[in-house]
Amino acid sequence: MSAPAWIGVAILGSLGSVVRFLLDDAVSTRNPSSFPLGTLAVNASGALILGLLTGLALSGEALLLAGSATIGSYTTFSTWMLETHRLGEDGQLLAGALNVLVSVVVGLAAASLGRSIGATL
């Protein structure tokens, strides 16, 4: 990997993280429930975009920068797990289980849809 590519990873990783925070914040503010809709919105949209990039058959440093660096940082696994754990701790076991199930089903559907769209472009 070239030095400019590493610099690109740092810049795009920070961009993905800031956009994640802003979207999560916007969704959570508009939907003040205990269900973590903000993270779901981020992860589902990120899965769609990464699916799209794979469908477009990007490869090498282009895929690394657009996919791994940008979308990889935009979506998050740790927050998804933390929010699931805290729902369980609060006794909201059904909401916690739904948070896992809905994220997986929606995430897979979004990635698959994105890939199909990318392949037809």
């Binding site: 810049i11 993280s17 925070f21 990464l50 660096a69 940082s73 979506t75 990635a111």
Partner: protein, 135 residues
């Protein structure tokens, strides 16, 4: 515009710095440990479990133990752990396993990621609280 004025520049800068570090670490691990098709994606699995462990630690410690700090959470939790871990890559890896009809591998990877991530948050949160109970 009222929503815009709420945006806190130092907070966004902290998220950006943590995010850059998290992305560099995740891409570094992926480069060092390249995934091969039809195999367990160790790089993604490792960063996700490690990031969940770290997030449970940071959030519990920052919320329940340390005095309120405005920049540590955006830097360490939202930025570093958020960018170190990834959801989208897991979904695309699962699709690729399904393409190869490796359904057992896909189910095992999904289950291990979710259970492992949950247990990692549980363990690190419990650890922070136990230390507090003793001290």
């Amino acid at each position: 515009m009222s929503a815009r004025t709420r945006v806190d520049r130092p907070q966004l800068l902290a998220i950006a710095c943590g995010g850059a570090l998290g992305a560099l670490a995740r891409v570094g691990v992926a480069e060092a440990w390249p995934a091969s098709a039809g195999r367990w994606p160790w790089a993604t699995f490792a960063v996700n479990i490690a990031g969940a462990l770290m997030l449970g630690y940071f959030v519990t410690r920052l919320q329940e133990r340390l005095p309120i700090s405005t920049l540590r959470r955006p830097l360490l939790a939202t930025g570093l752990c958020g960018a170190l871990t990834t959801f989208s890559t897991v979904q695309v890896e699962l699709l690729r396993m399904a393409d190869r009809h490796a359904y057992g591998l896909a189910a095992g990877y999904l289950l291990a990621s979710v259970l492992g991530g949950y247990l990692a948050v549980f363990a690190s949160s419990a650890l922070v609280r136990r230390v507090r109970a003793i001290v």
